[in-house]
Structures are given as C-alpha cells and as structure tokens.
Amino acid sequence: MPRNDPTDTGGLFIGRRPGTAPLRYRAAPTRASERRRRADAALAALVLVLETLLVLSVWGPQPVAWLWVGSQVDYRSGSISLALLLTFAGMLTTLMFTLGVASRMDRAWRILRRAAGHEQQEGVLPRIFGVTAIIVLVAFTFWFVILEGPAPSLAPR
C-alpha cells in the first residue's frame, strides 16, 4: 500500500490535486462503434443547445410571461398585491422547475459526452447560467440605457 503520510514521504503530501481524480464507473464501460459515438456527440450538442435555450428562458420569457399573468390578475381582481404575490410565486416556481429540468438535461449531456468518448467530469450548467446572465445583463443595459433611455419614461415625450 503506498504511504502518503508526510512523515513517511519526506514532508511531501502524496496525492492528487483536487478535481483531477479520474472518473470512477461501476464497471469499465463498453464503447460502441465510431458511428454511434459520432451520433452521441451530435446528440450531446443538441442537448446543449436545448439546455441553453431553457436557461435563457429564465432571464426573459418566463418573467415576461408571469408579468403578463400578474397584469391579468390585477385587471380582473383589482388587487395589485395579489398580482405581485402571484407573479413572484410563479416566477420562483417555474425557476425551480426549470433548474430541475436543466440539471437533468445537464446529466444527460455529461453521459452523452462520455458515450461520445470524452472524459467529461463536470456538467456545463453553471457555465451556461453565468454566460447567459452576462449576455442578458449586457443586452438589458443596452436596451435600457441606449435604445429606450430612462429619461423619456420619466418625463413626457
């Protein structure tokens, strides 16, 4: 058995750097043909696109949809509080649901990448979230400051 105590190894910690351990499968996977692997790679790319679209929906379509629902509730009930409550609750619910679906898609993407022959350790979901958040923030800032501009909405045109 290799010794990894620093007192046994002349002061060195013998071990892997964190995050560099190889993937551990239940049993060594049986690889399919090259054609199947190419198909898996294409499928992984498709899943990635869908996952990105799903995450993008968190930053635009979903809030807009719930704002529309809120406006309808306000119109029909005349209660702004109820509309706000429903809008935020709805947004949170669909966000959680989307995260659940996205995380499953991410797992499927990892498995497809491995089936395609890559040593895929990590998922891509956090990166998609970060990148889409930055893109949406930049786009919103551009629309808000340059295209729309805050002043016309404060003062009469």
């Binding site: 058995m1 620093p6 046994d8 190894t9 002349g10 002061g11 060195l12 993937l23 551990r24 499968y25 239940r26 049993a27 996977p29 049986t30 399919a32 498995i111 497809l112 491995r114 089936a115």
Partner: protein, 375 residues
C-alpha cells in the same frame, strides 16, 4: 429500449459516497489482513529504508519548481564547493554524477578505453556486485582478489595481483557486502606498491557510515579516484546522485566521468542541502546502523551464525551448518528477504541490509529458529 438505456447507464459515474464506501471497504479488508498476515521484511536492498530528510525533498522540489525548463548548472559549481569544503579538497577535484555506480562505470570506461584488449581491473571480492559487469562492458577483464580476514580489501593482495595488464584496482570501504574498512595508511601503501600508472578506484558509497574520510587522500595521491554516493546514508537513492573525487592532476579524466549535460537541478539542490546540513541527518543513521550491527552480533553470539565485524548497515552472514541458500530460504519462509551470496558467486553467505530495531529483532528471532544459541 432497455438495452438502449443500459448502454448510457454504464457511463454514469459513481456517487462520492459510493466511492468512499468502496475505499473504506478496501481499507477495512487491508486492516483485517494486516492483523493476520506477517508483513514482508525486505532486507535485500542496500538503500536506506527511510525517506531522506524532509528539507532535502523541499530543496529538490524548490529547484524543480523554479526553473524546470532550464538546463541545470553542468558544472554543479555550488555543489562542488559544498563538497570540497566537506572533504577539505579543491572544488575542481570533484565531479558530480548520477550515483557512484554510474561514475564507476564512466571511470572504468575512461581508464580501460585507452588500454587496448586485455586491460585488467583487480577487484577486491566480494565487493560491489555490478562492478565486474561494468569492467566487462568497458572492454576489460575483472580479476577477483580475496579480501582480508576482516572482510576489507587487502592492499597487499591487490598489489600482488596487479600485473602488466592491470589498469586499475578496485576496492570498497566500507565494503559491500562485508562492511570491512580500510584506512588511509592502507591506501597509501597500496598506491606505493602498485605498478606505475595503475589507478585505484575506491568505492566509498557506504563511507557516510564510517568516521574515516578517505577523500582527502586525493590531495596527495594521484591516480586515486574516490566514489561517493547519496543513496545509502543520505537515503537519496531515487535521486541517482553521487560524486567522484580525484587528484588535481587528474582533472582531464574527472571531466570524462561527468554526465554530458550535468546532474539534474533537483539532484544538485538535494545533494547541496544534504552536504551542508549533514549533521542533521547523518549521525542518527550512523548510530542506527552501528547499534543494529552490535545488536545482531550480540544476538547471534554463541550460535553457528556469524558475520565480520565491520561498519555500516550491510552484514555478510554465514553459518557453519547451513549454506547461504538455506539461510535465505529459511528467512524467506518467514517473509524476510535477504540477498543470497550466490549473487557474488559465494554459496556460504547471505547479505543482509539492517534496518531499525524492530526489523533486527524479527530477523534475530527468525535466525534463532535456524541456529539456536548454545548454552
């Protein structure tokens, strides 16, 4: 459809808690085995059984991280100065190499290359095992010369064996495998008695276990090459580090011993630290080796087993009643592994590398079964 999903399911990684469970199960199994199983005790390797001083590893690691892309200093200047100060010689008398063995190989080739066919090297035997092969490879013929009774190289016999074809005589102090030592007077006498032009190759790989430093003799004796190692008492066998010391007039030959592009930077750094701070690690190992040698001698007193009084951790053990192969087999049955003397062409002995007290006690108990002490 099931087969389709099963294919992808095989690419699912194990969850961290499953991995931990597996590792814990393996560890438990090893622990359970350790309780019932006698661990093997390897006493066959002459390398020191413990790791080197932690600062040696630190110095080597630092050197490696600092400039691993750069060539090391081919002259190993800082190291040569530290070694020169340690032996009270000139830095230009020292050449660093990839261990005493490689330097001896280079020495044999340098000395025998100009000798033509039939150049001989008289070797105090039994000595360092690979030396005859190195002489052969260099185109020479090794001539074994018996040791003196105390297991040391015999200067008189070596000088007597040196004939017109002899290019060098080789001896070790302390001698591997017997532990016998020679002193400065013996080397001076040998140098005087040898025919002109004959080199003395002094293998001092185990010299860190001895109080006597023979390297300063190179100030007065030309054609003396002293080979030192960092693999034994310095516990740096994995570095492949050593050096040779020669007379100032032998600088041309010394230059031929040096590796083409020098010794690696980590090895240089490790050797430099080990040399400058040897009082921090050598005395303890010297004491351990001496104590265990005495302990084993005391335990075997009165039995059929004996070994020459000597220096260092290597013991050349023989029995009046058993062959070396029988001793080795007896110990191997108790999971203690030693080197049979047949490796030196001797069927009466085994070589044992001593370790700490626990190892000596286990060895003593095993040998006690073979040759009980007479009351």
């Amino acid at each position: 459809m099931r087969r389709f999903f099963d294919y992808y399911r095989q690419f699912e990684e194990l969850a961290p808690d499953e991995v931990s469970r597996e590792l814990r199960a393996r560890r438990d199994e090893e622990k359970a085995r350790a309780v019932t199983e006698q661990p093997a005790l390897d006493l066959s390797s002459p390398a020191w059984h413990e790791p080197p001083h932690a600062e040696i590893v630190n110095a080597a690691t630092f050197a490696l991280r600092r400039a691993v892309n750069a060539y090391p200093d081919p002259e190993a200047g800082a190291l040569a100065e530290a070694l020169a100060a340690r032996h009270a010689v000139e830095p230009s008398q020292i050449v660093a190499g990839h261990g005493a063995g490689e330097l001896l190989r280079a020495g044999c080739q340098a000395i025998l290359s100009g000798a033509g066919a039939g150049g001989e090297v008289a070797i105090a035997w039994p000595g360092w095992g690979p030396l005859p092969r190195l002489v052969h490879e260099a185109g020479g013929r090794p001539v074994p010369v018996a040791l003196s009774r105390d297991g040391a190289g015999d200067p008189t016999a070596l000088a007597a064996a040196a004939g017109p074809q002899t290019r060098a005589v080789a001896l070790a102090s302390p001698n591997d495998p017997t532990g016998g030592t020679v002193d400065a007077a013996a080397i001076r006498r040998l140098a005087t008695d040898l025919p002109d032009g004959t080199w003395i190759l002094l293998d001092a790989a185990l010299a860190d276990f001895d109080d006597v430093d023979l390297a300063p003799l190179t100030l007065e004796l030309d054609r003396l090459l002293v080979f030192r190692s960092f693999s034994k008492a310095r516990a740096m066998a994995g570095f492949r580090a050593g050096y040779a010391v020669g007379h100032l007039d032998d600088r041309e030959l010394l230059a031929r011993l040096a590796p083409t592009l020098g010794v690696s930077a980590p090895a240089q750094a490790g050797m430099a630290w080990a040399t400058a701070n040897e009082e921090r690690h050598l005395p303890r190992r010297r004491t351990v080796a001496a104590e265990q040698r005495d302990r084993l001698a005391a335990a075997l007193a009165g039995s059929a087993l004996a070994f020459p009084t000597g220096t260092g951790p290597l013991v050349w053990l023989s029995s009046g009643a058993h062959t070396g192969a029988q001793i080795a087999a007896h110990l191997a049955a108790r999971r203690i592994f030693v080197t049979p003397g047949t490796a030196w062409g001797d069927d009466r002995h085994v070589r044992i590398a001593l370790r700490g007290q626990a190892a000596t006690d286990r060895l003593t108990a095993a040998l006690g079964d073979l040759a009980p002490r007479s009351r």
